[in-house]
Every structure is written in structure tokens, then in C-alpha cells.
């Protein structure tokens, strides 16, 4: 059978070429964003292509003058891509308030890399307060106005509806594909799922939707010629380490679900299209989405979602990824592990840096997998 996920892999591997070609053929602007709290709907409405800025997993030494090395590798590695000129096709950058780390990458980019447009959206942190919605709607109004001024084209209600529709379609299709992770022998691996979601953050959503629709035609009949092994979950911050995913899955396991913002947390919630005022609807989506831990207080609600996913996808164990220096996720590690343990899901924590020391991790992951299969009791 042909490789149904190859398209997504190619998009990731050639993301910059894709973006340059997109820009040349459509003669439109591209804006880079750092965190998934940026409402892509509004960028799409403005005919601007949103692309997520991510790292390349090379040691980001070029960032040293601009970011203190105690900040997470994602923020340093992302900035390094800009400093090395790999995103030289970007016309603008946008950041939606999340953690302090990414804010630093945004500001350093704004200050040191030539760019035509930079906008910081003060996405509320208090997403559990009822006052976040009117506040955020007003903030989005400002963003919309600013984008209109930048592109020289007023964003209409129809434009917003188009942005919402294409984003919701993308989310809905990815939900459908995630369903195929539930069977005993899932129809896709964790790596493939990651590549699907990651690529959706890099290419035109219309193109991505087309590929997802094609995939949905063939996926039900896909025969997997691998033993799925242990059903695993991966939980953590932004995680695009494909090599790690592949290596773990080669040890006799399959990631059947994830809880991170390059996975389910990115697309899980849809914009409620029954809300009349489209800006309110968009604001509502980002406030009521599965929160990033950076916004998840005073109640730990994301952990409930992680537990729910673990149960729904029938996982046997979970790897909890902590990006070194990340406070929002690091703070939640013990309660998260405890809640999963309470529903019978053992966890294993791993600290990620810009490069993953697979040699060490391999032994630890293997040992964890053995505890899940009961193999260790044989010795």
C-alpha cells in the first residue's frame, strides 16, 4: 500500500520550500506564530498564511546573546531558526500570550530580525474567569483592525466565517482520523499522527484538508503490518521530536494518543459556529479550549482531559515529557502522574532538551515498557 502519510512528512521536511512557493504563486503574505493560542482563523480571514515557528533540534548557540539559557529549548530553538534566516519569507510575526519563554522568542525576533509586521495578542491567562471572554473579544477586535491596516484590506464577517470554516473543517477531519487510533491495532502510528498535526501548522489549511479527506478514504481499509505492542500515551509541552517517536515505537509500542500542543490539544476544540458574533465565537474557542498548563489555574482542568484521553484510548502507560526549564508543564508533573496512576495508568517522566539523549532514554523507556508488559517479573 502506498504511504498515506507521506504527504504530511514531505510537507514537514520541505516546509520552507512549500511556504516560498505558496507565497510566490498566490502573492500573499505569510505570518509566523509561536504558540497555538494565536487565532489562525483571523489570519486566514485576512488572506495571510499562518505558519508555526518551530525549532530544528540543533543546539541553538546563536541565541545566546538574546535569550538566557535557562529558558526552554523550544523558545531558543525557534528563535535560532529566525536568526539563521530559515524563515526569511515571513512578512510578519504574531504571538498569542502564553508562557514567558515564547514571549522572549517573539520579542527577540521583533528586535533583531527584519520583519514588516509584529503583533502581540494579550490572550488572557485567566481563562477560568467569566470576564476573559469580553476582554479577549476586545483584544481580538484590535488584532483584526491591525491586520486589516497591515494588509490594506478590511476583514469582513464573510472573511471571518471562511477562517472559522476552514479551521473547523481541519479540526473535525483530524478528530475523525484520531478515531482510528482507538482500535486494538491502530490504523496509524503515533509518529504518523504527529506528522499529520504538525504539518497542519505549516501549510495552507485548504491543502491540508484536501490531504486529510483523501486519507479518510483509504484509512479504514489500511492494513498495518506491525505488531502494535504496548499502547502508550505521550503528554507534555510542544513536542515535535519525530525521531524520539519513531525510536520508541520501534521498541514494541504504539503511541495511541497524545496530550500536547502539536497533537490533540491543538485541534481538539472547534469554534462554536452557532455564536452569532464571529469574533466572540473565536474568542470563546481559545478561552474554552483544552488549556495549556500556563493558563490552567486555579483548577487543574487539563489533567482531567489527559485522564479522559488515556481511558478513551485505552492506554497502558504514558510518557510524561517535561521540556527542561519549562515551569508551566513542570509544575503539573506530580499531580498529572498521580491522577493517571489513580486510573491505573503508570507513567514515566522524561526531561527533553533541544536534542534527546536517545542512548540513555532507550534503556529507561525499555525498562518502562517491560514493567507495562510484566516482562520484568520474569527476571
Amino acid at each position: 500500500m502506498s504511504e498515506p502519510f507521506q504527504k504530511f512528512r514531505d510537507w514537514i521536511d520541505n516546509r520552507h520550500e512549500y511556504a516560498k512557493e505558496w507565497k510566490a504563486t498566490r502573492n500573499r503574505r505569510i505570518a509566523g506564530y509561536f504558540c497555538t493560542y494565536v487565532p489562525e482563523e483571523i489570519l486566514i480571514a485576512a488572506n495571510v498564511l499562518p505558519v508555526r515557528i518551530l525549532g530544528s533540534h540543533e543546539p541553538p548557540t546563536v541565541t545566546e546573546p538574546y535569550v538566557f539559557a535557562m529558558f526552554c529549548h523550544l523558545c531558543r530553538d525557534s528563535l535560532a531558526q529566525g536568526l539563521k534566516g530559515r524563515f526569511d519569507y515571513l512578512d510578519g510575526i504574531v504571538e498569542g500570550q502564553s508562557c514567558l519563554h515564547l514571549r522572549q522568542a517573539y520579542n527577540a525576533w521583533r528586535l533583531h530580525i527584519p520583519i514588516d509586521y509584529a503583533f502581540y495578542i494579550h490572550v488572557p491567562h485567566g481563562v477560568q474567569t467569566r470576564h476573559a471572554l469580553p476582554y479577549y473579544t476586545e483584544e481580538l477586535r484590535k488584532f483584526k483592525r491591525s491586520l486589516g491596516e497591515w494588509t490594506g484590506r478590511k476583514i469582513t464577517e464573510r472573511d471571518l466565517a471562511r477562517g472559522i470554516n476552514v479551521m473547523n473543517r481541519n479540526r473535525d477531519l483530524m478528530h475523525k482520523i484520531y478515531e482510528y487510533r482507538k482500535p486494538n491495532n491502530p490504523k496509524l502510528t503515533g509518529l504518523e499522527a504527529m506528522e499529520m498535526v504538525l504539518s497542519s501548522q505549516m501549510v495552507d489549511k485548504e491543502d491540508h484538508n484536501g490531504a486529510l479527506e483523501e486519507l479518510l478514504k483509504t484509512l479504514p481499509s489500511r492494513e498495518m503490518d506491525r505488531n502494535p505492542g504496548v499502547r502508550l500515551m505521550i503528554i507534555g509541552c510542544e513536542d515535535d521530536d519525530r525521531i524520539f517517536m519513531k525510536n520508541v515505537e520501534n521498541l514494541g509500542a504504539t503511541f495511541v494518543i497524545d496530550e500536547h500542543c502539536t497533537g490533540s490539544r491543538y485541534f481538539w476544540n472547534l469554534v462554536d459556529s452557532s455564536i452569532q458574533d464571529r469574533l466572540v465565537a473565536i474568542a470563546d474557542r481559545y478561552i474554552s479550549r483544552i488549556p495549556c498548563p500556563s493558563k490552567d489555574w486555579p483548577e487543574l482542568t487539563r489533567i482531567k482531559q489527559a485522564v479522559n484521553l488515556a481511558q478513551t484510548y485505552n492506554v497502558q502507560g504514558a510518557l510524561v515529557i517535561q521540556n527542561k526549564f519549562c515551569d508551566p508543564h513542570g509544575i503539573e508533573v506530580p499531580p498529572l502522574r498521580e491522577e493517571l496512576k489513580a486510573v491505573g495508568v503508570p507513567t514515566y517522566p522524561l526531561e527533553f532538551d533541544v536534542t534527546v539523549p536517545w542512548g540513555q532514554f532507550r534503556t529507561r523507556v525499555e525498562a518502562f515498557l517491560e514493567t507495562l508488559t510484566g516482562l520484568e517479573e520474569l527476571f
Binding site: 494579550h122 486555579p298 517522566p349 526531561e351
Partner: protein, 449 residues
């Protein structure tokens, strides 16, 4: 033979002991609040402490950062706290104050201002926090979680203040967002404590807080003279009163008395250190277990006269049209209603200088340059503080901004609350080399080079 360095008269601060007893009393009040039918709350030093004040005069708090710093100062206890937190599975890279604080809960111990560690963590009746740094809300979310494991439910309210920073008055919708949360917060306080809220007490507390924070800035402004009347190490013991109880009348009264005493020192030419000849400012919290670094600097005739941190964490400032950075004057009248009081304190708080850098590094750099110029500083010592991501965010940009303006910068790495991450001998060797590169030699005991 080189000329001896000029010697200025020095003398101890008269109100030193009062600061000490205010601090001691503060922790005692919290500890014994229940004995007298009072209430205890926990939250950060930046939380809107004037709001719970409307519940009555017998409501006492422990603010998290000064408490974390107190633990850090007592290194043995700090080390026990770190071990407990790591054993509970938390990463050691998290905010050091927060880890100290959680450690005390896990150990079920409480540290008093004088370093005495007593058994039993005095659980708060409620948590009243605000959130601008990634760790603020989550710090207390975990306090709640840890206490729940001991069978105690602590209600928590956290106000989101992350609406950005501007040198001009904030936009109304941003102020409204915070005021509306605080309005809900008052109803919540009534619900969780069963008390009736007193708006007059709120108005008084808001006014006290505005006075305290403006007065502290006035104290700091007096350090512009040469010789500087108080040094930063001394200021740490004084600004802390604001971080504990900025809304209390005794805080405003103390800062008024302090301002007058420091003015008197200026009038009489009393210096903080006898051989001042090189003035520096610092940045972010110091490594609390190693304040002897300041004494070592004195051996070179170097005085640290403050920082944006010690001036602006609690002190309120504003720019005048001529570009001068001055203590923020009080509004023309005291608020008289709940709405007025909340709006006044929100607008006032959004001006806090130590919040600027969370959003735009250029703003902090500008404020640091103003301090360098107006306070006649010769150099800036930047503490790349691994213990606090909130105050270290954008610090590398601040360094670049200062260097661009030709300001001498010395940067060093450390941790305000975890001594494992501060190399004292190594840092001292580098900092003395820096002073020597500035043409300073170690002073002899007589004050000569």
C-alpha cells in the same frame, strides 16, 4: 604614594529595629491569627492585598516571595526544602521561591523571620493571588493540591493581570477586565469567609497601599545623591515591609518615617558606606544566601545604590514630560466607594515598573538607563537569575540595550533561592576582576588603595 580615598561619615539607620519588629510581628500575626478569631490568607507579594483587608483588621497574610526569600537566606532549611520538593517529583529548574515554599509545606514546618523553624505549617484559610508570571497561579494551585493531600480544602482566587504594559494610562477594557475580576473576588471572599465586606476598610487599605508604594519610591529617589545615604543591602530589609503589607497603615507610617530619616542623612552627608567611589546598580533578586557579596564590594569602595528590582518591585514611579523618572504622586483624592477603590488600585498597579519587562524589554532597559543617569551609577551588575524566570525574562535584551548606550555591564549567573546554582568564589573572582578593570583596587583597612 596614592591619595587615600575620601571617607564619608556613616551611622546605623535609626528605624532599623522598627523594620525588624514589623517583620517579626507580621509572621507572628499570621501564625496566631486563629487564636484571636482572625483569618489567614496566602498569596503573592504582588497580589491585591488591599482587597482582603475589607474583611476586617484581623485578617493576616503570608506573602509567598518574601517567605521563599527568608527560607533561601537560611541555607540549611532551604536545602531541606529543595530535597523534599525533588523527592515529590517536581523538577529542580522551577522557580526557587516556589520550591522553597512548597518544601516547607511538604516538611510541615514554618520558618519565622529570625530563622527559627517551628513544626506545623499554618494552613491559610484561603488563597488570594494574582498572575503575571507563568508560576504565579500555578504556585498556589499546587499549594492547594498539597494541602488537599493532607485533607485540607483551601479555596483559591487568582486575578489575571496579564493585560500588557504601557507608559501611558492603560486602555479602559484592560482595566475593566481586572476590576471585574476583583468585584467577583469580593463576593467570593464573603462567600468563603462568611464575613460581610467593609468597603470603608477597602478604601483605607487602597489609600495606604498607594501611600506606601509612592513613599518607598521617595526613599529610593534620595539615593541619587553622592554619597548614597543607604545601600541596596540595607534596602532589602526595608522594601520587604512593602512586599509583606503594602496596604497596612503601619507600612505607610514606617515608610514616611524612613523617608524623613533618609532625607536627614542626605542633609547631613551621612553615607551608606564610608569609602564610596564607584556606584553600581544591580538587577533581579540577589542570591539571598550570599549577601556578603555586597560587603566584599565595599572593600573596593563600590556601593550598590539599588536596582529596578528594589526600586520598582513595590515602589511606584512615573515618567515626567521632561523624561525624568520620579516617584508617582498620589491621586488628588482618596477613593470613596468600592468601584472607585478597585479602579484606583488597578490603574495604580498596572503602572508597576517591575511589570514592564514582562512585555517589552525596551521599557525595562529605558528605566534602567534612567536609573543609571539620574542616580549617577558607573556600572550595572546583571544577575542572570536561574531561580526566577519572571524577573530574568528578556534580561539578555536588557544587557544588549545597556551596552548599546555605552553603559558598563557585568553579568553573572546565580539563583536567588537555591545555593547549588551560585558559585560564590567564582563570581567574586570575576566581579573583582571587573572592578579592577574599572581601575579600582582593593582598599586597605585605612581606606587607602
Amino acid at each position: 604614594m596614592t591619595n587615600p580615598v575620601k571617607k564619608y561619615p556613616t551611622e546605623p539607620l535609626k528605624c532599623w529595629n522598627e523594620a525588624k519588629s514589623l517583620r517579626t510581628q507580621y509572621y507572628e500575626n499570621y501564625l496566631h491569627a486563629h487564636k484571636n478569631g482572625g483569618l489567614r490568607w496566602a498569596g503573592g507579594a504582588w497580589s491585591f492585598s488591599s482587597v482582603p483587608a475589607g474583611l476586617g483588621d484581623d485578617v493576616h497574610s503570608v506573602t509567598g516571595e518574601p517567605y521563599g526569600a527568608t527560607i533561601a537566606f537560611h541555607k540549611d532549611f532551604a536545602s531541606e526544602c529543595h530535597d523534599a520538593v525533588e523527592a515529590a517529583g517536581f523538577p529542580r529548574t522551577l522557580c526557587a521561591y516556589m520550591r522553597n515554599y512548597w518544601g516547607a509545606i511538604l516538611l510541615d514546618k514554618f520558618i519565622l523571620a529570625d530563622g527559627r523553624v517551628i513544626p506545623g505549617y499554618p494552613t491559610p484559610d484561603f488563597i488570594w493571588q494574582d498572575h503575571i508570571c507563568c508560576s504565579h497561579g500555578k504556585w498556589y494551585e499546587i499549594v492547594k493540591w498539597l494541602e488537599k493531600k493532607k485533607g485540607k480544602e483551601i479555596p483559591m482566587f487568582c486575578t489575571d493581570v496579564s493585560v500588557g504594559y504601557s507608559l501611558t494610562p492603560p486602555e479602559k477594557f484592560r482595566v475593566d477586565y481586572i476590576v471585574n475580576q476583583l468585584q467577583d473576588g469580593i463576593l467570593w471572599l464573603e462567600k468563603v469567609t462568611g464575613r460581610t465586606y467593609n468597603d470603608q476598610l477597602l478604601c483605607d487599605a487602597v489609600w495606604n497601599e498607594m501611600k506606601s508604594t509612592s513613599l518607598w519610591a521617595e526613599v529610593c529617589a534620595l539615593n541619587q545623591v553622592i554619597p548614597t545615604p543607604i545601600d541596596e543591602k540595607t534596602m532589602y530589609s526595608l522594601y520587604v515591609i512593602g512586599t509583606l503589607m503594602k496596604h497596612r497603615p503601619e507600612c505607610a507610617a514606617f515608610y514616611e518615617k524612613l523617608r524623613d530619616e533618609v532625607q536627614n542623612r542626605v542633609d547631613r552627608g551621612i553615607a551608606a558606606i564610608p569609602h564610596e567611589r564607584f556606584r553600581v546598580i544591580t538587577d533581579t533578586q540577589p542570591p539571598w544566601g550570599f549577601l556578603k557579596i555586597f560587603r566584599a564590594m565595599e572593600n573596593y569602595g563600590v556601593v550598590s545604590l539599588g536596582s529596578l528590582y528594589s526600586f520598582g518591585l513595590i515602589g511606584m514611579w512615573e515618567y515626567q514630560p521632561d523624561g525624568k523618572w520620579i516617584p508617582k504622586p498620589l491621586p488628588s483624592s482618596k477613593p470613596a466607594t468600592r468601584e472607585e477603590a478597585l479602579r484606583a488600585i488597578v490603574e495604580w498597579t498596572l503602572n508597576r515598573p517591575e511589570w514592564a519587562h514582562f512585555y517589552r524589554p525596551e521599557l525595562k532597559t529605558q528605566m534602567m538607563k534612567s536609573i543609571v543617569q539620574q542616580w549617577k551609577a558607573n556600572a550595572v551588575l546583571l544577575h542572570y537569575n536561574r531561580g526566577c524566570e519572571g524577573l530574568s525574562v528578556h534580561i539578555a535584551e536588557n544587557r544588549l540595550g545597556l551596552l548599546k548606550d555605552g553603559i558598563q555591564v557585568f553579568s553573572f549567573e546565580g539563583n536567588m533561592g537555591d545555593e547549588r546554582e551560585f558559585d560564590y568564589p567564582g563570581t567574586m573572582a570575576r566581579v573583582t576582576a571587573f572592578f579592577e578593570s574599572m581601575g579600582l583596587e582593593k582598599l586597605s583597612t585605612e581606606g587607602g588603595p
